[in-house]
Subunit: 138 residues, 4 copies
Amino acid sequence: MLETIQAINGSASFNRWAGFEVTRAQDGEAELRLRWRAEDMGQYAGFLHAGLTAGLLDTVCGFAAATVAGRVLASHFSVNCMSPAVGRSFVARGRVVKAGRKQVFASAELFAVGEGDAAEKLVATGSAILVPVEAAPA
Amino acid sequence: MLETIQAINGSASFNRWAGFEVTRAQDGEAELRLRWRAEDMGQYAGFLHAGLTAGLLDTVCGFAAATVAGRVLASHFSVNCMSPAVGRSFVARGRVVKAGRKQVFASAELFAVGEGDAAEKLVATGSAILVPVEAAPA
Amino acid sequence: MLETIQAINGSASFNRWAGFEVTRAQDGEAELRLRWRAEDMGQYAGFLHAGLTAGLLDTVCGFAAATVAGRVLASHFSVNCMSPAVGRSFVARGRVVKAGRKQVFASAELFAVGEGDAAEKLVATGSAILVPVEAAPA
Amino acid sequence: MLETIQAINGSASFNRWAGFEVTRAQDGEAELRLRWRAEDMGQYAGFLHAGLTAGLLDTVCGFAAATVAGRVLASHFSVNCMSPAVGRSFVARGRVVKAGRKQVFASAELFAVGEGDAAEKLVATGSAILVPVEAAPA
């Protein structure tokens, strides 16, 4: 399953550009890692841009859903930004909360990892509704 | 005001990488444009990646808020994905719904623009809560 | 169509208890009115309770959706509370933003109406995702 | 602390009408119970109305926040409806995810409890942003 999700990840040009790395994907759970690059990932204050915060949270929810429901498309996602997203790298962990036939509900957390990869700090949370592609999304 | 917002836009490395262009910013409203690049902006099916959909919607909400509240940080945003985000370019339009002292509420739409720039198609909507930076966000 | 939606409204015991009144329902739009009662509708500070704010917004989104998609169930809704919900009565107006086969996206505003019914004040906004019942929701 | 939160609960007329019962409130967590009444709590299909689903989730998030931040007002909340809310009673459990000075982020689950109070079934999840009242909400 991990290799399947990694192949999907590799087929997305944005994920390749950013360097999303799938480090776990099974049984309704997924984990995604990103190494910070100041030169093309920042918002105006130098934190990780909301587009990458959302991109990581939405993607890890989608991959968690894909482990139980196959290919999916997000119809809704929301993000709570709790602390400035500052770190040497970031790790997003997602899980399926409820997998229905027409909709899969998933949620995720995004952590910043500092120097020495010692401590993880929660910087954002998110949730998503994924529609299985076979079911012809809205 | 437009030049002020364009300067903020230019100070964000992600925005420069993506090529966000601020084409309007005044009186609680803002408009942002993005030219599609297949080589680094797609999700696995070739649509605009959720990270860019969210990045455009969140950023245009922030810029609309900035026209009335100065520098802001998003504490929450949500995105509804209504149609596959496929186009030659994209335009996001945001507006402030309510500007409070501690929180600014904004909403936005994202449109795909096709060949000839003739027709705009609604592909996603979003809303955001922005916290003025002077007010020391949560 | 208005009579059909009013009949659905009358079949819901919570709506009857609260006194929800459907004053418009056609072509993807709906309007719902509620008369304030201090004795059973307040939160601790005496404003309209979030349950009624959400109940009005979710219901008016559902009724707007029902005018184009038949019976629906909400799978997601969100509410932004912009001002204290204080008034002699309240009016919620909802509209369908996009009606898909599997999901209907709708949004709504809630206004407080004061003495003399003269002025409406925006107190909350909301959005909802509705799943047509025939399509067997999640 | 439990008695303080129960007193706040008792001061809200909607909570008294519905019969919200605070069964836990300490250290950033809270639990709320509701006994089902078909005669005034249902939506058109006979499930618990979205207004009560949202009311329980928003209130339990607010009470969890109140244990660490004093009196609060919700500025945003969202609800995912995962299964029909059918039960003899309902229990909502909320917790603070991050307590900032200006905003408190909380999340909650709503469970339906069946005959014999044997099994709990997850029917909805929610999240809320609460603004401490002393901090003068938006």
